[in-house]
Symmetry: C2
Subunit: 348 residues, 2 copies
Amino acid sequence: MKSKATIKDVAELAGVSIKTVSRVTNQEGSVRKATLDKVNEAIDKLNYQPNTAARNLAGSKSFALGYVYDNPNAYYVLDMQNGILEECRERGYELVIHPCSVANKSIIDELETMVKRSQLAGLIISPPLSEMPEVLTALDKLNIAYIKIISACEVSDDSSPCVYVNDRDAAFEITEHLIEQGHTKIAFLRGDECHRSSHERKLGYLQALEKHGIQPNKSYQIDGSYSFEFGVEGAKELLLNEEKPTAIFSCNDEIAAGALFAVRLNGLDVPSEMAIAGFEDSPFSRQTWPKLTTAAQPTNEIARKAASSLIQYLASQRIRKGEQQNIPHLHFRPKLVKRESTQLLTEV
Amino acid sequence: MKSKATIKDVAELAGVSIKTVSRVTNQEGSVRKATLDKVNEAIDKLNYQPNTAARNLAGSKSFALGYVYDNPNAYYVLDMQNGILEECRERGYELVIHPCSVANKSIIDELETMVKRSQLAGLIISPPLSEMPEVLTALDKLNIAYIKIISACEVSDDSSPCVYVNDRDAAFEITEHLIEQGHTKIAFLRGDECHRSSHERKLGYLQALEKHGIQPNKSYQIDGSYSFEFGVEGAKELLLNEEKPTAIFSCNDEIAAGALFAVRLNGLDVPSEMAIAGFEDSPFSRQTWPKLTTAAQPTNEIARKAASSLIQYLASQRIRKGEQQNIPHLHFRPKLVKRESTQLLTEV
DNA sequence: GTACGTAATAACAGCGTTGTCATTCGGCTT
DNA sequence: AAGCCGAATGACAACGCTGTTATTACGTAC
């Protein structure tokens, strides 16, 4: 690899000192236009790429973000990852991904090791890890910057950067949509206990029922996990009710896909005999028949914005050390996507 | 972050020179047992983690692998990623992931920039990139070590590290399984042109037909892409044949899932009226009804072994510079998984 | 007990950047 | 034209580690 060009070569070719080159690459300012052009030209000519290692070492900071997650679902993870990556590339950061398991007792140690080893500038944490107080406390203790993505409809704690995803209102909207279709016997299949989203979504469901004067029916509410299998089991159980529900709102698309299968195996038509809605707008929801009504979560955008905010936050930290600074808070609200699984009308 | 402990602190505490500590952390040998213990004790006590940046800079090498892929499918990518990561963690390497698009003309430049920026020790490349000569040539020119994962049943080129996945024989086996079930009118839905696997699998299919004296029927062979949508379209087209096939072998599970839907929409029962097989053993294949017969690709293991071989190869390169060295070649063969979509008998 | 060879250890100079601080430049005031 | 000041630039010392080369310790043979 002829990737030899160092800052020295550039400086020499441009006829300036290495420090000036450094100023240019870091956009520090205080460089005259003429000089800047000379330097940039030299950089292009030599195809110069600053050495990350040297940069990190000398600056005793790093240009790498970490993405910490507990593999909730392949599409979500990949969407997040890609979104973060896009932002990182633009900003000249690197991404270190770190899947880990909530079940793992030593997760705190694991995170600590990771942060130290990789010299990360900051972390992006997605649920359910981002909703575990002990994890957040540990990170605070490590004194590492992070932005967490959580399910909540309002700012709950403004001391650290956060992305709020308003699952509750979106679930409310889905439930209202079902009610509009004439349903009153609406069941709910809830996802994992440890994901706040599953509770938020259920809350939205209950609020919608209440608003429309519908008595919630305990036997229509089953708790489980975010999985196809639970969808199948949960729907089967629902169908055991003497008075069967006419609609099932599933906490995510995977559950919905499972429910869909169980329902159709039972010989019921969807949506005429049973409406089914999911949540997330994952590819799943488009690969079932009929396609699933769901709530579209802009995961990729969430990821990008989260990364972007974190990077900005880090920059401001470097400048105003110690001082108070703006702590980013972002809000997202999944949007209802009406498809065939809940209504007869639409085009396919 | 009190992550202050440097090699100096450790050296001081252990009463040795920093070089000795370096020897210990790098397992260079030539350290007396007593000294080694002292040093290790100090490392533990200070919770010392070598600084990656300094390490890379001083050694002018790096401990990071890159995983380059063109997002073929979420489950595959994630399996690969996790496998590589597991190995990396054990060996103290980092992983930089790099999704990119085959369609992108400047992909070569992109790779070059990435390699330079991230100071990568080596690359792991999966299909279809690993099967594009121009990409491999570019990497050779960059003089970066890499291991490629390709679809092939025998060693084709022994000059660079390679993982061979024998799709052909696995496809042969699946086809034979269908023939054993009494099928002779077997259709084939092929995946993307640019993936060698799609051709290899088709070859296996054709070879099985030939072995059993079945005349291949051109109108039973449709080319498309690795997607659910193509599965739907392809199956529809197949059903237009006057003499319909009785079995569809789909190039992967996604296609199979699509085909399954189209077939059932057409009112045909699976497997009694139409058998359907997939390939890959992705979660898809277990979340359809009936479950899909498929070929299990040990993606996670492939990834681990690939990473492991690459790391070993890099190490041997460092030692025997210039000299001839063992170039790793690994072979994998997906295994037939019989499920309900091709046979009536089995338990659900 | 001396000499010798090898294994174990240390000293020290980089690696390619950035941070700090000193210096020079260019324009503006007087 | 001298004096001044902020902006632009440069010199040089870190950053924490590894590679290289020099030095010391230890065991063995005579």
